[in-house]
């Protein structure tokens, strides 16, 4: 395993306008990590607003683990199998996980599931160790809409820093999920 690089802080952004709900990310992730059965580490929700009006609008909203800075799953994990790494990734150490499932209902983003094949909790790992091999996460690599942007937000030259800067410069809407919960998520939503 690659140890965490303290100088980095990994994050992801979804450019919501570019997501077409093709679900390629879901399957790429499933293939990369051999996720069993009916589970996925990332999902796409469909937002229809308003429900029925003359001018219907529909948005596709990906989600996965937010790698929270103040992660409830880390707080409640009795074994410290769920932990926050120095590079910002919230990871699960499968060797320590007893499979108590407590972290699953603790996550306000419903990002976790129980991996029945391994008997442990499972969720997005930001594709560790893939990202240390110079690759993008599997979901980012495959995304035909180029809706997903990933990188180190400490590095102003990273794709994600550029995307966030671009969004700020152009005054796009940028938000994270449920700021009110104090979890300090690291996945940004960008919408024109």
């Amino acid at each position: 395993m690659y140890s965490a690089d303290k100088t980095k802080k990994f994050a992801m952004a979804y450019i919501v306008d570019r997501c077409v709900d093709c679900k390629a990310c879901m399957v790429a992730c499933k293939a990369e990590w051999q996720i069993p059965d009916n589970d996925f580490r990332t999902h796409i929700d469909t937002g229809i607003a308003p429900a029925a009006t003359e001018r219907l609008s529909m948005h596709f909203l990906p989600h996965q683990c937010n790698h929270c800075d103040d992660a409830p799953c880390v707080t409640v994990c009795p074994t410290k199998a769920s932990h926050k790494r120095a590079d910002g990734v919230v990871d699960i150490d499968n060797r320590k996980c007893v499979g108590c499932r407590y972290c699953i209902p603790s996550c306000p983003y419903n990002a976790r599931f129980f991996n029945n094949q391994l008997g442990v909790a499972d969720k997005c790992t930001f594709c560790l160790p893939r990202i240390y091999d110079g690759l993008m996460p599997a979901c980012v690599t495959t995304c035909p809409g180029r809706a997903r942007v990933f990188g180190d937000i400490n590095d102003p030259e990273s794709e994600i820093s550029k995307a966030l800067k671009d969004a700020a410069d152009n005054r796009y809407r940028v938000w994270t999920l449920r700021k009110d919960l104090g979890t300090e998520p690291n996945i940004y939503y960008i919408q024109k």
Binding site: D45, T46, G47, I48, A49, P50, A51, H59, L61, H63, P72, T75, V76, C77, P78, T79, K80, A81, K96, C97, V98, G99, C100, R101, Y102, I104, P105, S106, C107, P108, Y109, N110, R112, F113, F114, N115, N116, L118, G119, V120, A121, W175, L177, R178, L181
Partner: protein, 311 residues
């Protein structure tokens, strides 16, 4: 909205059994302090189920653990994270289990039997018989029962669980089902004549209190955030309505409450098989309370800005 699926019925069994076990010991300890001789049959009955039920409960938790069977040494790690309610619970349950084991062994005369075999064990006897023991059991017992709710209550992610009323409800239900459990055992195994009117009265009021708390909790939930309302409606009219109304409300609460009300009013005398039957209803209700609250938990919505349709 999405129902949580992380915790399922194994956990409900765990919460339930831990509640019954702890509740019975708490009530027995109170009775012990009040008048040991008068309530001895009850105390003995509670002793039979107290520690064992908690242990069976823990066993359910254990078999639910994805790794419990394969890597038992990981259980030691359950103590490492002080911020985890599971850590608190493991600690409380461990203490409570040891204490109630000692207390039960003492009450049932098993401790004496052991002392005959191994004399040094006699140092435990004064402790087991002490008032301190009673207090320790009351406190750890309430903590155990309360913990079964705190486990859920600390999770902000599930608004329906994240309520102050929940621990109170669970403690009351634990006491009530604890009494029922002990009563059933008493009726079956400790048939000696006993005057348990006080306990029966207490039981009746506990059930009434539980009904009121449940109503209150649901009313508050109906006024709460949409997720809470959704959970409450899932119980009242939605997915879980049948189980809720039939098993929890009617059989688990209303029928016993009515019967015990008649008993209180002196209009009815139930004992033997009939009593066992009604106490079993209370127990079933206690299980369904946890089962339903567990399953009706829905995640807080991720996307508040949109009306979500999950495909």
């Amino acid at each position: 909205m999405e129902f949580q699926t992380g915790f399922h019925w194994y956990i409900a069994v765990y919460l339930f059994l831990a509640g019954v076990g702890a509740g019975s010991i708490v009530v027995a300890s109170l009775a012990d302090m009040y008048d040991r001789q008068k309530y001895l049959s009850f105390i003995k009955a509670a002793s039979v189920i107290g520690m064992p039920l908690v242990s069976i409960g823990i066993f359910f938790l254990y078999i639910d653990l994805g790794q419990g069977m394969y890597k038992p040494w990981l259980l030691l790690l359950l103590f490492v994270n002080t911020t985890s309610a599971i850590m608190w619970g493991t600690l409380i349950l461990t203490i409570f289990t040891i204490l109630s084991l000692l207390y039960g062994a003492y009450n049932l005369g098993i401790l004496d039997w052991f002392i005959k075999k191994a004399g040094f064990l006699k140092i435990f006897k004064p402790l087991a018989a002490s008032g301190f023991m009673n207090w320790a059991l009351i406190i750890t017992g309430i903590l155990t029962a309360g913990y079964t709710a705190v486990l859920l209550g600390v999770l902000k992610a599930i608004p329906f669980w994240h309520q102050t009323a929940l621990p109170i409800l669970f403690i009351i239900s634990a006491s009530s089902t604890g009494i029922s459990g002990a009563m059933v055992v008493k009726e079956l195994f400790f048939k000696e004549e006993a005057h348990l009117a006080k306990i029966e009265t207490t039981h009746f009021y506990l059930i009434m209190l539980e009904i009121l708390l449940l109503i209150g909790m649901l009313l508050i939930a109906l006024q709460g955030v949409p997720e809470m309302k959704f959970s409450a409606l899932a119980l009242l009219t939605g997915e879980f309505a049948v189980e809720f109304w039939v098993f929890l409300v009617l059989l688990g609460l209303v029928v016993p409450a009515v019967v015990f009300a008649f008993v209180e009013a002196g209009k009815l005398h139930v004992s033997g098989g009939k009593l066992v039957f009604f106490e079993l209803l209370v127990l079933a209700g206690g299980y369904f309370l946890r089962h339903l609250i567990l399953h009706a938990g829905v995640y807080t919505q991720k996307f508040t800005d949109y009306i979500m349709i999950h495909y």
